[in-house]
Amino acid sequence: MIMTDEKFMSAYDKLKNTVYSVIFSYVRDHDDASELSQDTFIKLYTYDGSFDSDEHMKAWLIRVAINSCNNHFRSRKHISSSPIPEDLPSEEHHELNELLAEVMKLPEKYRVPLHLFYYEDYSITEIAKVLDLPDATVKTRLKRGRDKLKKTLRKEDWL
């Protein structure tokens, strides 16, 4: 499928929340998430390859978004010469829905698989593929993440 301007805009409308949300679940900062989301869509616009389907494009975008997040953290890897990474900033925290706020408080290794599981309805195998993890690791992380949530959420809020 050749990426015409019309297809690009249509893909953006369909997938902007997918891209922004997965990035936000990593970086937990709205400004960074917005910037990295735009970078991700610019990469889509300049991508020379083709996609077999919309699902293929979506998986590609999520993968590119995750790589952008990793690179974002990589550029801050030297703790002595970088500002100390902040936890969920208070303004972000205060405006979030309670459930979302609790998920965002989890360590990255739990919250990103949980996000893909609950937001994208991805299966364990699909999450494993996009995060480049063994299925068993994803399964464990989903379970541990859910266990942690159970301690903080009201009973009716968790599955």
């Binding site: 922004y20 002595s80 979302l100 859910r146 809020d157 599955l159």
Partner: protein, 363 residues
């Protein structure tokens, strides 16, 4: 957790904070540098690259070993060896042509500081300074001095200086010039690998002996601005890992990052301390960090890095950083590190980490 509620909550966040329309995004994509979708390089792009190269060259002259000799600089690695004889790794990096001359100097009457050049690798860039102390008596009393500088980008330097510590480096006296010192200072990789303008602001020069003035620490204010071209720093190789969990005494160390540099191999792990037996119910990491560091040192001290059958023992074991508000990574999560000697990642066929009889593949 109900996925519908989660999805709705996240959609609300997206709708509120990512409001760019498709038309606006398209416009941004089209105007973004490097968005030529044709693989063939256009004239405009060529001009941009040439312009960028000229811009960089104005700030920093790249000199390969051969070219340097032809220009009369002599073998640069040998010059480096003369002043920093113990640092053979950097000398070899310079010999390989990873070096850029800055050549900017400033003086305040008491001191003249020359930022001579930048070298090193992408993980551990080095700034080479030459400091002349005009007070000859002060120089006479000190075989070395201590130089402090902020090394940051402009935005950080102007707006967020309080969040950063100064870099520092000791300078040894020149063998021939009594009041001149050569300083090799470690610089911040984060600001020096992006080919963007760097500010090195020298703020303090300290001495161990100052019998005449009893001042010891001298404030200075000298700013150097420069750009480090990509090839001035030797490439390193870094890898992110997922799912490598190293278990010890109920602590789950997640090996998530490795950096294979010219100076050392760095491994980083992160772990949750809350809820571990070792924490004993403590929620303030600073109450228990010594115990965690002791356990990490005992555990990691036995690690072996195996590269194509050759085994390497750990070089340094790190101390953790963490706080209860989760500033390191996440709430309750801490990070620590260890190093092994430098290895050739690209040339190696197999790299494994041996931990208590278990083998973890790093390449």
């Amino acid at each position: 957790m109900k996925n519908t509620e989660y999805r709705k909550a996240m959609d609300d966040v997206c709708d509120k904070h990512f409001t760019l329309t498709a038309e606006e995004m398209l416009k941004k994509a089209k105007s973004s540098p490097g968005t030529e979708r044709n693989i063939t390089m256009t004239g405009t792009k060529k001009r941009n690259i040439i312009g960028k190269f000229i811009g960089a060259a104005a700030a920093c002259v790249i000199i390969s070993g051969t070219a340097a000799s032809a220009m009369g600089y002599g073998p640069l690695g040998d010059s480096f060896r003369r002043f920093f004889g113990k640092d053979e790794v950097t000398a070899e990096i310079i010999d390989q042509g990873h070096y850029c001359e800055i050549g900017q100097d400033q003086s305040d009457g008491a001191f003249t500081v020359l930022l001579d050049s930048v070298t090193g690798d992408q993980s551990a860039p080095k700034l080479l300074f030459e400091v002349t102390v005009n007070d000859e008596e002060l120089a006479e009393k000190n075989d070395r001095l201590h130089l402090f500088a902020y090394v940051l980008d402009e935005d950080t330097y102007l707006n967020r200086l309080d969040e950063y510590a100064m870099c520092d480096g000791w300078g040894e006296k020149d063998p021939d010039v009594n009041n001149m010192y050569h300083v090799c200072m470690d610089g911040p990789s984060a600001f020096m690998i992006n080919e963007e303008e760097v500010i090195a602001a020298v703020k303090q020069i300290s001495f161990e002996s100052d019998p005449a003035n009893r001042q010891f620490d001298y404030d200075v204010n000298m700013e150097f601005r420069f750009t480090v071209p990509h090839q001035a720093l030797k490439e390193t190789h870094s890898e992110y890992y997922y799912g490598i969990d190293l278990l010890d005494n109920g602590i789950d160390y997640d090996l998530f990052y490795a950096d294979f540099g010219a100076y050392e191999t760095l491994l980083k792990v992160k772990y949750d301390f809350l809820g571990t037996d070792l924490a004993g119910g403590a929620t303030d990491y600073y109450e228990v960090m010594d115990k965690f560091d002791t356990y990490w040192h005992r555990f990691a001290g036995g690690f072996v890095l195996c590269v194509d059958g050759e085994e390497y023992e750990p070089k340094d074991l790190g101390y953790s950083y963490c706080d209860t508000e989760g500033e390191a990574f996440d709430a309750g999560q801490c990070s620590t590190w260890m190093t092994f000697p430098s290895i050739d990642y690209t040339g190696a066929e197999s790299i494994t980490l041996l931990v208590n009889g278990e083998s973890y593949t790093l390449k």
